[in-house]
Symmetry: C2
Subunit: 253 residues, 2 copies
């Protein structure tokens, strides 16, 4: 099911989080961060994340904007048994395909529910758009699914992670982005910003970021360098480290 990619460009991705509970501040989204780390490890570039409410129009619009733009779209949330679980229907509408109870999904639900327990609400979890592949999960049995380049997963983090483990090995991944971190050693951002810009300019192919953090112990900034080219990354990292050390000595004088 892994998509073919044109040329050598790394696969790209977006995350679409679906759920009123995130936008109301009730629940802190942790799925985006998990997927971001997972994709970084297998060499897929996460380029965008969106959160939309439990609203079919909003989901369809976001999905159609994202799926034409990125290699993969990962959605989380809205595939349970209650009336606010409308993701599957929205995905079917976005793709313009029919949706109905899927016998394969019903079979999975029967592993967990007796015939009496498998009521109308629970059967909603077997509604799968035509042409989708199911994504198994060992925890709740209710499947996610994969249609075109869109991967539809549960919102409960434990179940989502279980589904990601099923999906991950099937993704057309690329060479992993390597990461180096240089501790800025108490040197403030404004003191190294110009030198860092020069290092970024001299090492095209390395993404150079500076991340300030204020802790109880004072300023603790980090310079983060990312590249798929390990030799280039080493050179840029060495340059950043030497620059910080020299500034540190200067400031300590």
């Amino acid at each position: 099911m892994a998509q073919e990619r044109a040329g050598d460009r790394p696969a790209s991705a977006a995350v679409l989080v679906i759920g009123d509970e995130i936008l109301s501040g009730r629940t802190q989204d942790v799925n985006t961060g998990y997927i971001a780390k997972y994709l970084a490890q297998i060499g897929v570039d996460l380029r965008e994340a969106r959160t939309v409410p439990d609203d079919v129009e909003a989901i369809v619009e976001a999905l159609n904007a994202l799926r034409v733009r990125y290699t993969y779209v990962f959605t989380t949330g809205g595939i349970g048994p209650t009336h606010d679980d409308i993701t599957a229907d929205a995905v079917a509408r976005a793709f313009g395909v029919d949706i109905d109870e899927d016998p394969r999904a019903i079979a999975l639900l029967r592993e967990r529910f007796s015939e009496t327990e498998l009521n109308r609400a629970r059967r909603r979890m077997a509604r799968i758009p035509k042409g989708a592949e199911l994504i198994f999960n060992a925890i709740s049995k209710a499947p996610g699914f994969w249609i075109g380049n869109v991967v539809v997963m549960a919102g409960v983090p434990m179940i989502m992670q279980n589904m990601m483990d099923v999906v991950g090995p099937q993704l057309a991944a690329g060479p992993r982005v390597l990461v180096e971190t240089v501790e800025a050693n108490g040197v403030p951002e404004g003191a190294y910003a110009e030198a860092l810009e020069a290092i970024a300019r001299d090492h095209e192919g390395v993404s150079v970021g500076s991340y300030p953090a204020f802790t109880s112990g004072g300023i603790r900034n980090q310079i983060v360098l990312r590249s798929r080219d390990s030799a280039l990354l080493s050179r840029a990292t060495a340059a950043a480290r030497a620059m910080i050390e020299s500034l540190f000595k200067e400031l300590a004088r």
Copy 2:
């Protein structure tokens, strides 16, 4: 600076998180959750959140999509002194206005930095789009700003929260959305989904959500009811509570 709103519709908002570090999984975004809670408390509806990389095109496009659609857009990240801090320039481009060093912002930075310390990199933090109002922060002195309906804030959570406290009282807020939670008492979602749907249907104006959680102690679902109408909310909450109690007795039999 608070925007006028047409009629009685509550103010709406979007959050735009700007930063490679979120998309690479290096940093867990906590700003969206904070702003979500803050807005819920003052009666502004957060309808969408997006995260984009440190890329001018991506920021401009997201900003222009969001600012025509919602009463307010809150951005976080990318207003520091380093080369990857490009938010102010992107905002100016989105609005089609000039950007230059703002004397008011330089004056604020002088409260913290000596003339020697105020180098070219740090002066970047004084680049403010024409026509913007500054947003003061007591921690780093480097200001955020407010232009049109877009509020531009720092990415460091402590500083962003400081800026939100400045901005919050100026927002055209509405009646707060009231929230009630009904513990589902160990009753699984699939057992109450149909009854809950009927309650949602019978109480238009109340948003009814069901949130499953799997803990070490078993299933711990919550039904969350939200409305600006307190009498209506009380009736819907009572109905949900009675429904769960009756199901609980049934299952315990």
